[in-house]
């Protein structure tokens, strides 16, 4: 299988060429956020205070994760994806501001898939539960906002060949539906 390397920040063209089922290795800076951080960010957007966001979503990648604590001498704790549907109510707002990729696991809502088509974004999956392994591709990590949220704080990661699979592309394709079609026993 061909692997594609992507380095942030990303352009529309970078993500438009991606297709469901492709393996991608992500490099550069990515940001983390899950339930509570998303709520705060989208509350800011709704209040017209985009400039107060922890980072400018334009061309960026957000990783749905709440890492476990960092052991002494390590860069970060275990760091696997959390289930993405919980961020569905917030994701369209971020794609609208230019977010290019979200990383998580599990199905997205029709609204998010529509937003990705409209604003040129994709959704990719990391391997759920393989968190200690995933942490190896994270080269540096720091909390940049909402430290009071504990594991849910927004982190900035620098990653090297962080492995993901394209689940939803800018054409509205859905790997979760296509994959099942191939293997289901009628």
């Amino acid at each position: 299988m061909t692997q594609i390397r992507l380095t942030t920040p990303l352009t529309d063209e970078d993500v438009e060429k991606l297709r469901i089922g492709q393996q991608v290795l992500i490099n550069g800076v990515i940001y983390t956020g899950r339930d509570a951080a998303h709520k705060r960010m989208v509350d800011l957007i709704k209040a017209g205070k985009e400039n107060e966001l922890p980072f400018d979503p334009k061309g960026q990648i957000i990783y749905y994760v709440g890492p476990s604590p960092t052991k002494p001498g390590k860069v970060v704790g275990s760091c696997g994806p959390t289930t993405s549907y919980r961020m569905d109510p917030y994701a369209p707002e971020l794609y609208k501001l230019g977010l290019k990729v979200s990383i998580g696991k599990g199905k997205r809502s029709p609204e998010v898939i529509e937003a990705m088509k409209k604003y040129k974004g994709v959704y990719v999956a990391a391997i759920g539960g393989a968190a200690a392994l995933i942490a190896k591709s994270i080269k540096s990590a720091k909390v940049i906002a909402y430290p009071d949220l504990g594991a849910e704080a927004v982190h900035e990661f620098v990653v090297e060949d962080f492995p993901v699979v394209v689940v939803n592309d800018t054409l509205g394709g859905d790997l979760y539906q296509e994959g099942i079609k191939i293997y289901a026993v009628k």
Binding site: G66, T70, S78, T83, K105, G106, A151, I180, Y183
Partner: protein, 216 residues
């Protein structure tokens, strides 16, 4: 392994000849959870109120299920439970006429609905019978059984095999990306039911199935 080190679910089996002196047993277990999650660099995933949602900072309180059994031992089973697979679990109060076919349909519906979300491959714990809360507890207890260990009731063992095949034939596969191994096992636990009810609970456990027990 996984960053979600879970809700600390504790099963306590207290032998009726055991006498615990001084202090508070539940407080002691809570302290154990606090220490384990803090000193062991495990994630603090618990908020004190489901609607106000403020993190307790030490992963307490645990959920403790206690049973009194004959004997003079104290058995503690720790079964931390991740949120992703717990959220894909479901319970349904069926009618007796729905029968075994109804149970199968419901389990398959839960599997389909879960898809990639609970980090497949997963284990299905199915609790059938009792009251509503009893069925839910049976489903969770069923997850404690070792994979590969057969159900003692031959009818239920056959139903487990049939459900496992049907679930895997959905084609959801590992990580939900398509394939034939969505579930590693189906474990059923039953209990007497009311003449009017057929409660069925399905509790899903991801492949990060972490269980540890200690007997005093």
């Amino acid at each position: 392994m996984c960053q979600d080190t879970g809700y600390a679910v504790i099963f306590l089996e207290l032998g009726q000849d055991v006498r615990i002196e001084g202090g508070d047993l539940y407080e002691a277990i809570t302290e154990g959870v606090r220490k384990g999650y803090t000193e062991g660099y495990l994630r603090k995933s618990i908020v004190s109120h489901p609607l106000e949602r403020k993190n307790t900072g030490d992963n307490t309180p645990p959920v403790i299920h206690t049973t009194i059994v004959p004997g003079e031992n104290l058995r503690i089973v720790v079964a931390p439970k991740g949120g992703g697979s717990e959220n894909m679990s479901a319970i349904k109060m069926m009618k007796p006429a729905d029968g075994v076919e109804g149970v199968k349909d419901f389990v398959l519906e839960v599997a389909k609905n879960a898809g990639p979300n609970p980090c497949p491959p997963v284990i299905f714990g199915v609790g059938i019978g009792g009251t509503m809360e009893k069925a839910a507890l049976l489903a969770k207890e069923a997850l404690l059984r070792e994979i590969g260990e057969k159900n003692e009731d031959p009818n239920m063992a056959a139903l487990e095999d049939e459900l496992l095949e049907k679930i895997n034939n959905l084609g959801i596969g590992p990580q939900g990306l398509g394939g034939r191994t969505f579930a590693l096992a189906v474990h059923i636990k039953t209990y007497a039911a009311h003449i009017a009810s057929l409660p069925v609970a399905v509790n899903i456990n991801c492949h990060a199935a972490r269980h540890k027990e200690i007997v005093f």
